[in-house]
């Protein structure tokens, strides 16, 4: 494994998004994963519609919450194409699902995987490189006050409650860490990113990991 890896270096990660007061982190994380894997597969970096997932993933609860696994299951079963953000813009509230013709341009999911990597974070690093950015669920209670730096304490792994996207890692320093793309705007954390220590399942980062295949 390389000592550091970052999907941003491959031009595969869109700018930080802001979910505002909408509890749609689960949709932001999987749409971010789809955007990045599309680039990994040779496509252009596109901004896809989070609102489409919030409105149309019927087994979830839109801005009131949801599951990355359930959303990927829906995308995989229905083969619904994700359209561009400009065609279906983010409104930060629940709305009626807008359907597009099957011929409409968009990106559909071929398959997905969901696994628990606790105790296997090195394996998770390998899968990050092989599969693309990974949507994970973390315990983000202490993230209310986070300003930057590597999270090494105050983060339990027993209460998963927030979905984010792991886009890279760095093991070159004293404390190896995951690079995590959040959806709370650029004024949060380090320009919208958080760093989490690798190796101790900090914040439960390895407990619920999903990857998407296009």
């Amino acid at each position: 494994l390389p000592t550091k890896f970052d999907w941003r270096d491959k031009g595969a990660v869109n700018p930080i998004q802001n979910q505002e007061a909408c509890g749609g982190c689960w949709a932001f994380s999987i749409v971010g994963a789809v955007e990045s894997v599309h680039v990994k597969n040779g496509g252009a970096l596109k901004q896809l519609s989070v609102q489409q997932v919030i409105d149309c993933s019927y087994n979830n609860h839109g801005c009131n919450g949801g599951s990355t696994v359930t959303a990927l299951d829906w995308l995989n079963k229905t083969k619904e194409k994700l359209v561009s953000q400009s065609e279906y813009p983010f409104k930060a509230k629940n709305g009626m699902c807008h359907y597009f013709a099957p011929s409409h341009d968009g990106i559909s999911v071929k398959n997905y995987q969901a696994h628990n990597f606790s105790g296997q974070e090195k394996e998770m690093m390998a899968r990050l490189i092989e599969w693309g950015p990974l949507a994970v669920i973390v315990d983000a209670v202490s993230w209310q006050d986070y300003l930057g730096g590597i999270i090494q304490h105050h983060c339990s792994s027993h209460n998963p409650n927030h979905a984010v996207l792991v886009i890279g890692y760095d093991t070159t320093g004293d404390v190896p860490y995951w690079i995590v793309r959040n959806s709370w705007g650029t004024s949060w954390g380090d320009e919208g990113y958080a760093y989490i220590k690798i190796g101790a399942n900090m914040c439960g980062i390895a407990d619920s990991v999903t990857a998407v295949f296009l």
Binding site: Q19, A21, G23, G24, C25, W26, H61, C63, N64, G65, G66, S67, T68, V69, T70, K110, N111, Q113, A114, H115, N116, F117, S118, Q120, E123, M124, R127, I137, A140, V141, S142, Q144, D145, Y146, L147, G148, G149, I150, I151, Q152, H153, H154, P160, N161, H162, A163, G173, D174, V175, W184, G185, S187, W188, Y195, G204, D207, S208, V209, T210, F213
Partner: protein, 77 residues
């Protein structure tokens, strides 16, 4: 516009400051790469408000990753 809400947010903010002192007290004994905690856009929210609004993801129980099994299934796919 709402004085009651203003005072509630002020109380929340003051609680946040106390929380930052606690959270940073562990970090300061570590390297300068340790996480820092302080005032941000959520500092006038109570932990309950923050949880209700932003911590809304539901985690499903997923199978443990087994390298050989899932490596093979990926190749088949």
């Amino acid at each position: 516009n709402n004085q009651q809400e203003y005072y509630q947010r002020k109380i929340n903010f003051e609680s946040s400051i106390r929380r930052h002192v606690y959270l940073n007290s562990v970090s300061k004994h570590l390297t300068n790469h340790s996480a820092k905690y302080g005032v941000n856009q959520f500092s006038d929210l109570s932990p309950e408000q923050f949880r209700e609004t932003y911590l809304t993801a539901q985690a499903k129980v997923v199978p443990k990753y087994t390298p050989l099994k899932h490596g093979n299934s990926l190749k088949r796919n």
